[in-house]
Amino acid sequence: MSNTATIALAGNPNSGKTTLFNAMTGARQRVGNYPGITVERKEGTVNLDDIKVNVVDLPGCYSLSAYSQEELVARKVLVDERPDIVVDIVDATKLERHLYLAVQFFELGIPVVLALNMMDEANKQGLRIDRKRLASLLKCPVVETVARSGQGKQELMQEAIKHAKERGGAWEPLQISYGPDLDMALGVMAEMIESANFMTNRYPARWIALKYLENDEEIVAQGRKLGGTAQELEDLVAKTSEHCQATLNTVPEAIIADYRYGLINSILRQDVLEHEPTQSERIDVSTKLDMVLTNRLLGPIIMFGVLYGMFQVTFTVGEIPMGWFESLFGWLGETAATLIPEGMVQSLIVSGVIDGVGGVMGFVPLIAIMFLMISFLEDSGYMARVAYMLDRVLRVFGLHGCSAMPFIVSGGIMGGCAVPGVMATRTLRSPKEKLATLITAPFMPCGAKLPVFLLLIAAFFSENEAQIMFGITLFAWAMALLVSKLLRSTIIKGEPTPFIMELPPYRLPTLKGILIHTWERVWSYIRKAGTVILAVSILLWAAMTFPGLPEDAMSKFEAGRQAVTASVDNPEEQETLLESIDNLEAQVTLRHSVAGRIGSFLEPVSRWAGFDWRTNIALVGGFAAKEVIVSTFGTAYSLGEVDPEETASLSSQIAKDPAWSKATALALIIFVLLYAPCFVTVVTMAKESSWRWAIFSTIFNTVLGFSLAVISYQVGTLLLI
């Protein structure tokens, strides 16, 4: 390690690890994913003197057991990438709790430097930590830091590099005594492991033995693949467990944890930690805040206020930059239309590429603002309280306290967006609950579905608009919760993940942290969704354009136009007539295209729910983006382009159409609410889970939506006629 070195940053969640990482690396960060899972991998580089230091931010974890993906990832990075040194960030105000992880690093043997973070808070609480004494007892350098202000980060890095050099990459596992029974078993097992070279190329022998005693699923599974020694070890563990059960009425895992905490306590008691009773007996700020914010009565009221306010801000503030994006892409489209001669290429560039990419970019301001606020709520510690307050309700439906946020963002209070909603499922640590949330969040009435509802309500239920809109929202929540329950009791079956969660103290988040956090999410959205969306919008454009009308049909329209121009003198009348011919041509062209044929092809089935070919095309278009539904309706009803904001003519047209009834409208509302999420959402879902689940939700939601639409239509026609 002459010119380069790798530092791995480790620590409990809420230890200030990410803040310190941001302080160390600034904006020079790379974010990726660990293969196959959604845990983020963050890296950054810093130059220290002549050394190029690569800093890897390990996922926050409480222990090195195999409980969560984060812990498995942290372990894997340490063992397989063998960083030169681990910087373990501990919250100085919670030393006992945080040293539990540190002890496990010592047992693994990797070189460690301890960062005593949040020293400012510790001093305020009257905590005196003798860091020299702590360093000599732990046999590792200890540095005091305040991540928020960056204080101590230079010393920390220098100390880390120095210690890494001293150790020269050697691992020196600490041997903790776990009492006579376990020590004997560990000794025997370590010898067996050593002599058989059983996984010793990756892990220290005694550590493997320890993990066997702890019943570590990953290590046991890896061992079984090697056979031989694995069976002997498992037999020995079984015998030891039996012995512990018989003599001490406990299991080896529990004994191991006890001794680890015992060791930590004995170290802290050797004059390391002193609590000066200054004003420390005062109730701290977090406890005071919690008395109000999680109060039985006030808590829920404040929570709904905060969520509703957040929502309002996102969609009112977000509208402004969204308007800029729209005009920018509108201008781009117009410019392209004037620069490129009329024809297929122009149509492809304007309708396919620019409109498609514009559609994706239009979401960017919403996502940015939404995540700015979610980051704030998360980093401040309030999000954990929301989960805490709502868990009891959501658990009934097989969900988790943290499921509330994605539902609300997706449109739980009308007019959200499923894309940031699905992205918000990231805060869910439990895979099964996350999946159920992910699949049902798109049921919420997002902003793009609203024009469709408004159109239909205006046409058929204009007398009680507000009630119907409210009813739709309630129906969406009911469906999301019931379907979650259904999924969680069938295909995503399983015990609820334990809720055991830290309630971190309230803190004012740093602006830098929030901005970095938001930027990462926005950028990954632009990059990943953008490429796929471009392809799909071109595909959709092609489906609605090809095959074009045959020559003779086109010439008939042309002849009609010429006849109008020749025979009608009044310019106004002439224009109206020409326009109606253009619109009729567009309608016929659309019906003739692939999308139109699909629409007609589906008609025999969609009739069950009362949908004709026009509705079908609009719904197929709606798969690209729900905004497309109303505008496609316009084309299909040969009204030309219809602005989704001004649907008066379209709604009266539909209301007059004998093929439509209240039952049809209701069936369509239900179907639009529930059917396949738009393509941007599907791509986001695939990114957050897997393509398999994304495709599953597309099919499942459509089938569900259609079944309910058919039922509602059939029942509706029976009752209403």
Binding site: R97, E502, P505
Partner: protein
Amino acid sequence: MENTLRSLRVNEKARIRSVTAKGEMSRRLRDMGLVPGTEVKVVGRAPLKDPVALRLRDFTLTLRNNEADCIMIERMEEINE
């Protein structure tokens, strides 16, 4: 009769006697510091009485009532407020 953590009221303190959970949950409880001998204090309950918030080892932890059922305790003192 042994008491479980569920029976503890807000502001009551207790010492953990044993943890009867098995498997994944027991590991999580231990990793979060809920081992025998630890002092815990109930600092709050969610609006619907479940989950419960605890204070131990200078930090705040929340868990559900059915998870609290796995934790056997002995009461220490009662603080009336």
